[in-house]
Amino acid sequence: MLLGVAALLGVTGLWWHRAAQPVELTLYFHPFVGPEPLVFNEARYPNPGGEGRFKVRDFQFFLSNIRLIGADATYAEPDSYHLVRFDGAEPVFVIVLQGVPRRDYERIEFGIGVDAAANKSLAQRGDLDPNGRMAWAWEVGYKFVLFEGALLRGNVSEPLLYHVGFDESYTPLSTGLHGDPLDSRPAQLDFRVDILRLFQGSTTIDMTALSTVKFDRADAALLAGNFPGMIAPMESDVAGHAAAPR
C-alpha cells in the first residue's frame, strides 16, 4: 500500500516535471526550385511565364514573428526576425525556438517580411540590421525578399533582380500542426521553401517582361501576392535529416 502511494507520487512527480520543462523546438527550412532542391549559380530552371532558363545567385528573406498557438496558450519567440538564407555549409536554414512551454499547440504562425512597426525602426532586433544588405535607405525600410540572378536565352544573359519590400507586402502565414511536434524527439518541424512559387502563384511572372522589381509598389505587390505559396510544411521523413546539422 505504502509502496503503491510512493509509486503513484513518483509517477505524478515525473508527469509534473515533464509538463513544467520547456523544450527546444527546431524549425528546418529546405530550399527548392519547383521539385528540385535549390542549386545556386546554374541556369537550370525554366522561366515560369516565358522563354529562357534562370539561375539563382542570391536568395534571402525575412521570416518574422514566429508564434505557436493553442486553445489556451500562445508561445511568441522574442525578437523574432530571422534572415533566412541557404548559402551556408548545409543546404538548410535552421531556427531553434528556445524555452517553448509544453502546451497543446494547434498551429504555427509566422510572417514573410517585416511588420510595419519594425520596418520603420532602426532598432537591431533579431537579424534586422539597418547596416545590413537587406536595408534600403532608412526612409524606405527593409527588403523583405531578395532574389538576384540571371535569365539565359540562347547565349544572352539578362540580369534578374527582385527586391520586394514595403509594409503592405508583409504576409502572415498560419499552418496547422498535425499531432504534437513537441512530443517528437528531437522536437522539430520541417518546411519547404519553394523559390519558384515567388514567380508562380496568384500571378505567373514572365521574367523577360518583368526582370526587375524594386521600388514600384504595383510590381512589388505582384510578387508579394505569391508569398503565401512559398513556404509549406514538409514531412520530416521526406526532409532527409541525415544531412541536417543538429
Partner: protein, 340 residues
C-alpha cells in the same frame, strides 16, 4: 573602459570575451602600434602604413615595409573596425583583429619580425614590463596581439559632418544632400528614382561592408574574367567568391587615396568614373552593379550607371562630409613616443 561610446545607428558590436577592452590594454596597444621595434630592422611600425592624418592609410597604391618591395594590397583605413565584416584584410583571411595583428609583424616584406625576438626585446624594456603586467600579467605573442586589437577597437570615427547631420545638429548643403540621396538609392527608372547604388554595398550609416557572413565582400567590376584575382575565393575555396574583395568603410574617404584593393585609382573622380562607365564584366560581378542603370538599359549590353557630371560631383561632395577632423587629429590615437 569608461568614456567609450559609439552612435546608436552603428548598431551592436562585440568585444571578445577573452580580451575585454581596458584602459591598460588600449594604452599598451597604442604604444605597440607606434613602436618600430615590432619590425626586424627597427624602422617600420604599424603607423608606417597606417598614418593617423590619412585616416590610418599611407597615401601609396600599395604599402611598403622592411623589404622595400611594394606589397600586394593597398593599406586599409582603420576606423570603426568593430562594425561591418569581421573578416580582416582585403580578402578576409583573418577572422579577428587579434589574428590579424600578428600577420604583418611576421610577413617577410612588411615587418619581418620574429615573435620570440620581439617578446625578448619588449621584456628587456621596464616600461613595457609594467604596461604588460598591468594589462595582461605577461608578455607573449597573444598579449601583443590582444593589446594591438584593443587599441584598434577604440579607433572610432563618429564626428564627421555626416554624423552631425544624422544627429540633427547640422544640415547638408544642396549639393551634398543630392549626393547623399544618390548614394542611398539603387536606380529605378520605373518610379523615376535616380541612384548611384553605393548603398547596395556600403551600408547607410557605417558606409562599410555588411557584417552578415560574406555579404561585405563584392566584385565591383575592376577586372574582366581573364584578369580576375582570387580574392575571397582564396579563403573560402568557393568559385562564386572569385574576385570578391572586402567592401571598405568610406569614412574619411577624401583622405584615403589612392583607392581600391590595389590602389589603382588616384582620385574620387576616377572612382566615380569607374562605377559610372568603367565596369568590367565577369561571372561573379555584383548583380546590383550589372542591373543598375539610370536609363533603364541594363539589358542592352554595356554596363553603365549613366550618371550626369553634376550627379558625380554631388556624390563626391557627399563623400567629403564623411571626413572627421577629430578622428585624424585626436591625441588619444596619436604617436605616444612624440608626446613624451
Amino acid at each position: 573602459m569608461s568614456g567609450f561610446s559609439a552612435p546608436f545607428v552603428f548598431g551592436h558590436f562585440q568585444v571578445p570575451a577573452d580580451n575585454p577592452l581596458t584602459r591598460e590594454a588600449v594604452e599598451l596597444g597604442r604604444r605597440l602600434f607606434y613602436d618600430p621595434r615590432l619590425s626586424a630592422n627597427g624602422a617600420v611600425s604599424c603607423s608606417t602604413c597606417h598614418i593617423q592624418r590619412l585616416a590610418f592609410t599611407d597615401g601609396r597604391a600599395t604599402g611598403v615595409g622592411v623589404s622595400g618591395k611594394p606589397l600586394a594590397f593597398n593599406s586599409m583605413s582603420l576606423a570603426n573596425l568593430m562594425w561591418g565584416p569581421q573578416h580582416f584584410f582585403w580578402n578576409g583571411r583573418a577572422a579577428t583583429l587579434e589574428a590579424q595583428a600578428l600577420i604583418p609583424i611576421q610577413h617577410a616584406d612588411e615587418m619581418a619580425q620574429d615573435l620570440g625576438r620581439l617578446v625578448a626585446q619588449l621584456d628587456a624594456d621596464p616600461a613595457y614590463r609594467d604596461l604588460f603586467e598591468a594589462a595582461y600579467g605577461e608578455i607573449s605573442p597573444a598579449t601583443i596581439a590582444r593589446a594591438l586589437a584593443s587599441f584598434e577597437r577604440t579607433l572610432i570615427s563618429s564626428n564627421s559632418r555626416y554624423d552631425q547631420f544624422l544627429r540633427g545638429a547640422i544640415k547638408l548643403d544642396a549639393q551634398e544632400e543630392l549626393g547623399r540621396k544618390l548614394f542611398m538609392a539603387h536606380p529605378d527608372v520605373k518610379v523615376s528614382l535616380r541612384g548611384a547604388n553605393c548603398i547596395d554595398c556600403h551600408s547607410q550609416f557605417l558606409t562599410g561592408g555588411f557584417s552578415a557572413r560574406y555579404d561585405g565582400f563584392s566584385n565591383n567590376g575592376l577586372d574582366d574574367e581573364e584578369h580576375l584575382q582570387p580574392g575571397l575565393q582564396a579563403v573560402t575555396g568557393n568559385p562564386a567568391h572569385r574576385g570578391l574583395f572586402k567592401v571598405p568603410s568610406l569614412r574619411n574617404v577624401a583622405l584615403t587615396a589612392p583607392y581600391m584593393h590595389d590602389g589603382r585609382f588616384k582620385t574620387l573622380e576616377a572612382v566615380l568614373d569607374h562605377y559610372d562607365s568603367g565596369i568590367n564584366n565577369s561571372l561573379t560581378l555584383s548583380s546590383v552593379i550589372v542591373e543598375a542603370d539610370n536609363r533603364g538599359q541594363a539589358a542592352a549590353g554595356r554596363i553603365s550607371l549613366h550618371l550626369t557630371a553634376d550627379e558625380k560631383a554631388a556624390i563626391i561632395a557627399f563623400l567629403h562630409t564623411l571626413t572627421d577632423q577629430d578622428f585624424v587629429s585626436a591625441e588619444r590615437f596619436s604617436d605616444p613616443f612624440q608626446r613624451n
